[in-house]
């Protein structure tokens, strides 16, 4: 639907604003390495979707908070100038659930998102099996 201006939006539309597609991830707050929590596999799919996990697996992720996930979180935190903890802290989750562009942040296993700010090119490291990425 297209709305010409803010006043044309029905009040109910504002009151019943659709929950974010990824609000579900808020329940993963506080998870850290070694945990097994239902929903972590979906978070891995999210990170795979945006290039942070480059494994060739086609969605068969486990709910384990493993090295692959921790590595993905660290790279994500660097890219979004968050404190790099490797954990699912509140600031990281607030960023993850925001609506966003569907293009990947990490392409072909490396990320230049921070390149303009003097960071070194961030290679995908420990645990992130570098096999191939999907070319659109």
């Amino acid at each position: 639907k297209f709305y010409l201006n803010v006043t044309s939006i029905p009040p109910l539309q504002i009151l019943n604003a659709t929950r974010g597609a990824w609000d579900y991830f808020h329940k993963l707050a506080g998870c850290h390495a070694g945990d097994r929590v239902s929903g972590l596999s979906k978070l891995k799919q999210y990170f795979r979707r945006f290039g942070y996990i480059t494994t060739a697996a086609t969605g068969n992720f486990t709910d384990d908070f493993d090295d692959v996930l921790e590595s993905a979180i660290r790279i994500y935190q660097k890219n979004f100038d968050l404190k790099v903890t490797g954990e699912l802290d509140a600031a990281t989750l607030r960023q993850i659930v925001l609506p966003r562009c569907g293009n990947s942040d990490v392409i072909d296993g490396s990320s230049d998102m921070n390149a303009g700010k003097g960071f070194q090119k961030t290679a995908m490291t420990a645990g992130a099996a570098r096999i191939r990425t999907t070319k659109r």
Binding site: F2, N5, L98, C101, I107, S110, A115
Partner: protein, 196 residues
């Protein structure tokens, strides 16, 4: 700013790019004007020019709204979530999620919060971002940059930031007819030059 691997860009012979809308969307002029404004923002700071065409055959860039799986391997996910995606040069595919609620007002040139809580997405903000991809820019870590990957519902962010301008001018150079450059735009003021 960042680029796609290999730094693809439109070739030097292609400085006048033609865009067209998927006819099945039956978009109104109000909607099409939003894209025109978004293209202008990039034209103001580059030697590139953008012209709308009614013919897909002539178009370098094709714009369409789609829902769910639309055949490019990157299905949309309903309201919110992913809002749009675009290809790197010289492919020219620009897809937007047809399940979003889009605001198409001419909200002015300034970045601002339109509503405090809403699932409404400012179309021009997303269009300016995706055109950056179509021209060769990747995502940026600079929060004020257009090429920052996320945008909150109800936010309007349409002003090119210094980071965006530096990135695009690295690929194409500045606008020979204008004065806009990264030097005179500290953090994305409305840039002058070109038609303005």
């Amino acid at each position: 700013y960042s680029f796609f691997p290999g730094k693809p860009r439109w070739p030097a012979r292609k400085r006048d790019l033609i865009y067209a809308f998927v006819p099945q969307n039956n978009l109104t002029e109000d909607v099409k004007r939003v894209f025109s404004r978004a293209f202008d923002r990039w034209a103001n700071v580059t030697p590139l020019r953008f012209t709308r065409s009614g013919s897909l055959l002539r178009a370098d860039i094709v714009i369409g709204f789609f829902s769910g799986d639309h055949g490019d391997g990157e299905p949309f996910d309903g309201a919110m979530g992913t809002l749009a995606h675009a290809s790197s040069p010289p492919t020219g595919m620009f897809h937007l999620d047809g399940d979003e609620d889009w605001l198409i007002s001419d909200g002015g040139g300034e970045n601002r919060r339109i509503l405090s809580v809403t699932s409404l997405v400012d179309l021009e903000s997303v269009a300016v971002h995706e055109i950056g991809h179509l021209l060769g820019l990747g995502h940026s870590s600079v929060k004020d940059a257009i090429m920052y990957p996320t945008i909150a519902g109800g936010d309007r962010k349409v002003e090119l930031a210094k980071d965006d301008i530096e990135g695009i001018q690295h690929l194409y150079g500045g606008n020979p007819d204008g004065t806009a450059s990264s030097e005179n735009s500290s953090r994305g003021r409305e840039t002058s030059g070109g038609a303005e």
